[in-house]
């Protein structure tokens, strides 16, 4: 099939880039938590999928327009985010990052089990963003629904940037992340700020979970763990704390992954993603857009 090689390569990269929009959405929340707040929250991907599940379970199959389901997913994500904050971060002293890490692991296990118990582990069908979104241009094929996800991701990115750099909450968040004691001295209420940011990342996570459900077509407990690993990789490649970096890195990882799957098959694909990560860690530890700082 040599005549098809060029077309297939371009198609694979395009497909990968488009699916990478979902990684980008998860990466946005991860990079905000890890990069801006310097807190490791391993339960983030599970909470996002949990938000998507909640949107289905709350409605119990009632016929509701799709955008409303997505909105409900976002709101559920926000609520879960707040719960995660109180369960894992509020009461543990700042000087114990390992304890917060471990408690988020516990939270991840808990959210996974709640999902499994509520659905008996079975996959749930999730409404797509666009019913008939396939676009055929010449020999190429594009998933219209993923283009919408990408645009939504860009919208979220702009929203986050506006939030971080143009609002008081954003200013307070950056202040708390840089120097919590000094921020407190300036009259910023640290716990309030942290809780609010967790709610916002939770909202973002809920939307991401909904988009992933819509892109894949079904929700399953199998989604949470691989998404956590992908989210971490995207955060590191994009640069800790860089919001445009998360979007670009999500697309890059998606494209790279699918292209190497086309070249070398499904068993070696993930090895190449790891190699990409190692290459970044060795040659450019600050990621694509991160500022050049060696401290984590």
């Amino acid at each position: 099939m040599d005549q098809y090689f060029l077309i297939d390569s371009i198609q694979s990269i395009a497909d990968g880039l488009l699916f990478g929009a979902t990684y980008a959405m998860i990466g946005l929340g991860f990079t905000l938590i890890f990069g801006v707040m310097h807190k490791i929250n391993l339960s983030y991907a599970a909470a996002s999928i949990g938000g998507a599940y909640a949107s289905l379970l709350i409605l119990q199959g009632a016929a509701v327009p799709t955008p409303l389901i997505f909105l409900l997913a976002a709101l559920s994500g926000g609520v879960i985010g707040l719960i995660v904050y109180f369960a894992c971060f509020h009461f543990i002293p700042l000087a114990n990052p390992l304890a917060t890490l471990m408690s988020t692991v516990g939270m991840l296990l808990l959210i996974d089990e709640v999902i499994v118990h509520a659905t008996d582990g079975m996959p749930l069908s999730y409404p797509p963003v666009l019913e008939d979104g396939s676009i055929f241009i010449g020999p190429f094929y594009f998933r219209g629904d993923l283009i919408v996800v990408f645009l939504l991701g860009c919208l979220c990115m702009l929203g986050l940037l506006w939030l971080l750099y143009r609002t008081r909450l954003g200013l307070a968040t950056r202040a708390v992340a840089q120097q919590a004691v000094a921020a407190q001295l300036c009259g910023i209420r640290v716990t309030n700020v942290n809780a609010q940011v967790f709610v916002i990342t939770g909202l973002l996570g809920g939307i991401a979970g909904a988009m992933i459900g819509a892109a894949v077509g079904v929700l399953s407990p199998l989604l949470a763990l691989p998404l956590t690993v992908k989210g971490l990789i995207v955060t590191v490649i994009g640069g800790l704390g860089s919001i445009p970096g998360a979007i670009v890195a999500g697309l890059v990882v998606g494209g790279f992954e699918n292209f190497f799957q086309f070249l070398r098959g499904v068993t070696e694909r993930d090895l190449y993603v790891m190699l990409l990560l190692f290459a970044f860690l060795v040659f450019r530890p600050s990621g694509l857009f991160g500022s050049v700082q060696m401290r984590d």
Binding site: M1, Y4, D8, Q11, S12, D15, G16, F19, E113, V116, H117, D120, G121, M122, P123, L124, S125, G133, S134, Y141, R143, I212, A215, V216, G217, V218, S220, P221, L222, L223, L225, P226, N258, Q261, F262, G265, V266, T267
Partner: protein
Amino acid sequence: MRRFFTCMLSAAALTAGLGLGFQCAPAKAEDRPVQVAGFGAMSGVVRVFGIGSEAAMKAAAEKINAAGGIKLGDGTTGKFEITYYDDRCNAEEGINVVRRIAATDAIIAVGPTCSNVAESLFGILQKKVGDSSDSGLQFPIIADVAAKGGLASISEWAFRNVPNEAEMYKALFEWVKKEYPDLKTFYGGFEKDFAHSNATYGVMKREAEANGYQLVGESEWLLNDTTFSNQVRDMRRANADIVAVSAHPFTTCGVLREMSRQGVKPKLLIGLTSSSSIETVKGCGQQAEGLIIPTGFAPVNPEAIEAAEAIVAKGGNADLHSAAAYEIMFILKDVIEQQGIIGKPETLEEDRKKMREGLAALKETKGLLGPVARTPDREAVKPFVFVQAKNNNWEVRHNPGS
């Protein structure tokens, strides 16, 4: 160093105080309880099968007990008492659970759900009966769900009542040849990292080619993959008449959705036995329309319908896996009566040996769809039907037994 050893002793004492929770069998005056333990996955994506197995075992036990119980070797009537344990689809826990069961009065354990647990579990059993140099566990286990090929051959104490996929797909492709004579080519897709799907795909390919179908291409993916555009693109280009998907519901739905997105409509879709459950029609009923799968259970006769209702009444789904557990209880009743098992705590070791002997000696057992042949390597050859997804439900398309 004294402190070191005192700490070790306290730790030992702590451990001894934990891990409790044995079930004590209440002694009844007239009927003797016959303890049978079940175990399987009550956690994770296969939780529905653990629930189904438990429901089926309890439903069957209830039916047997209500119909007069079991005739034990010393003349008393025995009534089944079922305890179900969760192994969380985890090999270490499976081993712990079976050791725990072996320490109770249970004469046999029914399970596991997951093939990887069965691999480890059958590995710790004594390989050949009577081999005194082998310190493996001497306890019979009969599997209801773990479907990976060839597992029972690992140990003589291991038995299975799961469908023989080679037979099923052989019959399926023969039937397809008669029913759809114009189909010539076929394309295969399978989960590469899941042993069961991988192995069954080999079976599908072999049987299809034996019936004269031409393989025009193959695609692979992994168990939790979420995007299939590359694979379906190859499928589209190959434009085969038949597409066979050897994968579990999550990825099967993913592939079917991508196929509908890219406009791939083969003349016939064939699936993996494990996907003939409620998950597939619930997850992607619309895209799965027309999918044909050979399965070990469908409510096609009064007995099967009754069993299905009983299982559902106990909170499980009636599918090929839970039906296997249901059938096992009746097999156990027959073996107990044939071997004259007594069921007293004193005769426990003897009873377990007799259980093993009895199961090994069986040539045929009663299945819900018809008689089940038993092979010398302790597997089962079960009757089957072909079901087809129609309107978000499974309908029987062809019953070879009728």
